[in-house]
């Protein structure tokens, strides 16, 4: 089945990121962070502009103005008009776009806010100011197809599998045996998404992501 991650693994394709932030300074910085990380970027100043770009303000279709599919949406939380949370909800409610990973950025490290966003399906919650290492980590996650959608499926599959069955490399993730990228062992991975994948089975959904965020002050 077609998953965002599969498309990305053909090396020549670049991630196209839609960045949403009402602050000029932050928009400029996030755009640069993404460009340096070899992503195509479209930066807009509001949630409504973002929806316009996606064509969600009337027409369906995941193509932006220039026909580029959006692979990731990264948005500020506190914006006048539509907040990042509201934008997240609209995207997750849309059949055309709900598969696109959405990352929330906020200068405020508020647990209830983080939880709310993760509950609503946000991929990640980044505390501002965003660093290059955050963007690199994020990009790696997306490129490996380690998104909420895939994690959800993988978790579901594991839940009903025998304990005796081997960890499924044939599961519904895009990292198929034919992929050129080797799968790192989950326990060794430094990235948040892998941490969540292993601990999800054992504990509450967002505690490890939260723990990581809170400890990184």
């Amino acid at each position: 089945m077609a998953v965002a991650g599969e498309v990305l693994l053909s090396g020549s394709q670049e991630l196209h990121v839609l960045a949403v932030d009402d602050s000029h300074v932050d928009r400029k910085v996030i755009e640069k962070l993404l460009r340096i990380s070899s992503c195509k970027v479209t930066a807009v100043e509001s949630g409504s502009r973002a929806l316009q770009f996606l064509g969600l303000d009337g027409e369906e279709g995941s193509l932006g103005f220039n026909g580029l599919k959006v692979n990731l949406i990264i948005t500020d939380y506190s914006m006048p008009g539509m907040t990042g949370y509201e934008l997240l909800r609209k995207i997750k409610q849309s059949s055309a776009f709900r598969e696109i990973p959405v990352v929330i950025m906020s200068s405020e490290n508020i647990l209830t806010r983080i939880d709310r966003c993760l509950e609503e399906g946000a991929e990640e919650f980044l505390v501002k100011p965003v660093k290059l290492s955050d963007v690199k980590r994020l990009k790696d996650c997306i490129m490996r197809g380690e998104t909420e959608e895939n994690r959800g499926r993988r978790f579901y599959k594991r839940k009903f599998e025998d304990d005796s069955s081997p960890p499924s490399s044939e599961s519904s993730t895009p990292s198929s045996p034919s992929s050129p990228l080797p799968l790192p062992p989950l326990s060794a991975a430094p990235f948040a998404c892998d941490l969540v994948a292993t601990s999800e089975i054992l504990s509450s959904p967002h505690s490890s992501k939260r723990a990581k965020l809170c400890n990184s002050d």
Partner: protein
């Protein structure tokens, strides 16, 4: 010879910003984003920052002079200013914003006004220090590219 002195000046100016804690690690993050395509990225970001912050401070000044002060409105603006200040690594400015915000949240009018003046001072100091720094950087940049073999 001349460019070496210039570079030394730049290095010590820059170091003083960190020693005096007027800038923090986020500024270094921005520096790491500069490349050949964008050799003046940091200056561009800071220029953008000062354009917005100067306007915001003017609005804040007015708001602080209004009787009674609309504290929620002031807080919102301070939050905005804090965000962009943090994004460029303006450490002392950010600290003064936090102090001002706290006093506003406690509706301590006189304290908040005094803190706001401190905030303005730090902001203007930062601007005054960065302007010659970027000027020197540009000079060094053009000197270097003049020396670079074609």
């Amino acid at each position: 010879m001349e460019s070496r002195t210039l570079r030394q000046q730049i290095i010590s100016m820059r170091q003083s910003f960190f020693d005096e804690e007027i800038l923090d690690g986020q500024f270094t993050q921005l520096e790491q984003l500069e490349d050949r395509d964008n050799p003046n990225f940091v200056e561009e970001v800071l220029t953008l920052y000062f354009r917005d912050s100067t306007a915001l401070l003017a609005t804040l000044e007015q708001a602080m002079e209004t009787v009674p002060i609309d504290f929620p409105k002031v807080d919102k603006m301070l939050h905005q200013l804090k965000g962009s200040s943090a994004s460029v690594g303006a450490n002392k400015v950010r600290n003064e914003i936090n102090k001002t915000r706290e006093l506003c949240q406690e509706t301590k009018v006189e304290g908040a006004k005094a803190a706001f003046q401190e905030l303005r001072k730090e902001h203007d100091t930062l601007k005054a220090k960065l302007e010659p720094y970027f000027h020197q950087l540009r000079q060094a940049g053009s000197a270097e590219s003049a020396m670079r073999p074609r």
